[in-house]
């Protein structure tokens, strides 16, 4: 089934992605399958969502895998990418200390949970880095009709998800996280609120347009996207994490 490597002009695909997909182990798990199936080699660099997209802007990526809809649309609007292809999702979750001092377990929506946190004056750690997660968090505060930014229980850390979870753990505070990073992260925090539709976190693939940098590996990017959206890859995604966490970390979109 392996296509002859000779047919591939440029076998190296540079994938720029966010820490959540990489640190959760999903990509390292998929990588060997992809490489074996297609004969391509994939070089994964992960960074904050902003940096991951920026690296695609500077021409240092062939393909993008991120989860920040509006930034992605801007990116494509500016003519850097071809098309945004949502292919998997998971959920944001609200995590916090086991004791749950704000009692958010009883809340029915995320906004309600946030309001409970604000009312109880419990600490809340915000990523504060304009990432997809941060944008989502701000949206929930807005829905709850609360502006927490000046409150002293509101800790804005300007950091990645992993570090934010660490701070929340230490401060016995609440935070909003994507589920994959939370499950992969070692800490004492408890998953307290898991919502359905309004806490959905969608990941998309974008092939970088070859128009700007002639050596952009467009064919490779398309091959990667094609493979990632193939039934085989989607099955692999749905299976990932079940063995370790008892549930999948990501859900494929078919």
């Amino acid at each position: 089934k392996t296509p002859p490597a000779a047919k591939i002009e440029n076998p190296v695909i540079r994938l720029s992605t966010t820490t959540s997909v990489n640190d959760s182990g999903l990509l390292p798990y998929l990588q060997p399958h992809f490489e074996a199936d297609t004969g391509y080699k994939i070089e994964i660099t992960s960074a904050g969502t902003g940096a991951a997209i920026e690296k695609a802007r500077t021409g240092d990526a062939d393909c993008l895998l991120v989860h920040a809809k509006s930034s992605e649309e801007d990116f494509i609007g500016e003519g850097f990418g071809e098309e945004r292809l949502p292919f998997m999702f998971n959920y944001f979750v609200i995590v916090g200390p086991e004791a749950d001092p704000a009692g958010i377990k009883d809340a029915t929506t995320a906004a309600e949970a946030f309001a409970a946190i604000a009312n109880s004056g419990s600490k809340f750690v915000s990523r504060g880095d304009e990432s997809g997660t941060h944008v989502k968090e701000l949206k929930i505060w807005e829905d709850a009709g609360i502006d927490p930014t000046e409150e002293d229980w509101y800790i804005s850390v300007g950091a990645g998800m992993g570090q934010t979870l660490t701070v929340a753990d230490e401060e016995m505070a609440y935070t909003l996280s994507d589920k994959a990073t939370f499950l992969a992260h070692d800490d004492n925090l408890k998953l307290l609120k898991e919502e359905a539709e309004d806490m959905k976190n969608t990941y998309s693939l974008i092939a970088i347009t070859p128009e700007r940098w002639e050596d952009t590996n467009y064919a490779g990017a398309l091959a990667f996207i094609e493979w990632m959206t193939s039934p085989k890859a989607l099955d692999l995604i749905d299976a990932y994490g079940v063995a370790e966490y008892g549930e999948p970390l990501f859900f494929s979109m078919r």
């Binding site: 960074a47 904050g48 969502t49 902003g50 940096a51 991951a52 997209i53 920026e54 690296k55 802007r57 500077t58 504060g128 880095d129 304009e130 990432s131 800790i155 804005s156 850390v157 300007g158 950091a159 990645g160 570090q163 701070v167 753990d169 230490e170 401060e171 016995m172």
Partner: protein
């Protein structure tokens, strides 16, 4: 360019946050450089000024600790200060104090090693003369430090450079908490992660300018001190 103008606007404009960040940065760097110097210079002078068995090994360990990865040093301090750590009850994590502690852990070996290296150059001659008039080993050490004053000032500036430029440890134990423990480097890191590369570089330039100012000031004070 654009980023630099933005940074300068931040610095001198309405937004007081950059000024606040610079204040925390300076507080942290100056205090940790001070403490590291107070620990590292005497320790380095002790090692550099004397001949003793196992000196080679002490120097090797010091040299190795000079290459302690900031992240590892930061993590170690984190684990000590964390809620479940031995000093967890002090609740120092995510404070400027915690950052100072981490910096002291990282910089002290540097001050120690460089001081030992420098002091070892004039040490034999000073020792012979000083011992000849019955000066105690402790006072000898003091004299050696005095004689290497201007070189040790450079060493202190090296320490300060490390303190102000370090990000790994400071991020872990300080947490980059807005209005509290956010310093120049963690702010730069944040901008970088947000993909605002040029703005990050501009903040870096601001940091270098501050660094240069401190250097020039210290050099000026030192040259005045020479009379």
């Amino acid at each position: 360019m654009d980023g630099l103008i933005k940074a300068i606007n931040l610095l001198f404009g309405e937004n007081p946050e950059l000024r606040q960040i610079i204040a925390v940065t300076l507080r942290m760097s100056l205090i940790s450089t001070g403490i590291s110097s107070l620990l590292g210079i005497p320790l380095g002078a002790l090692i550099g000024s004397r001949e003793f068995k196992g000196k080679h090994w002490v120097l090797r360990v010091t040299n190795t600790l000079m290459g302690l990865p900031p992240v590892v040093g930061g993590l170690a301090v984190f684990l000590v200060l964390s809620r479940s750590g031995p000093l967890g009850t002090l609740k120092l994590l995510y404070s400027v104090t915690a950052m100072v502690i981490a910096q002291v852990v990282l910089i002290t070996p540097i001050m120690t090693g460089l001081t030992a290296t420098i002091i070892s150059i004039p040490a034999p001659r000073i020792r012979e003369t000083a011992q000849g008039v019955g000066i105690s080993a402790w006072r000898q050490m003091g004299l050696m430090v005095y004689e290497c004053k201007s070189q040790l000032v450079s060493t202190v500036l090296v320490g300060f450079g490390r303190a102000i430029a370090e990000v790994g440890a400071v991020q872990i134990v300080g947490g980059n908490v807005q209005y509290k423990t956010r310093v120049m480097t963690t702010a730069i890191m944040m901008q970088t992660n947000m993909g605002k590369f040029h703005f990050a570089i501009s903040l870096g330039v601001v940091l270098l300018v501050i660094s240069f100012g401190i250097n020039a000031l210290v050099n000026y004070l030192e040259s005045r001190g020479k009379a």
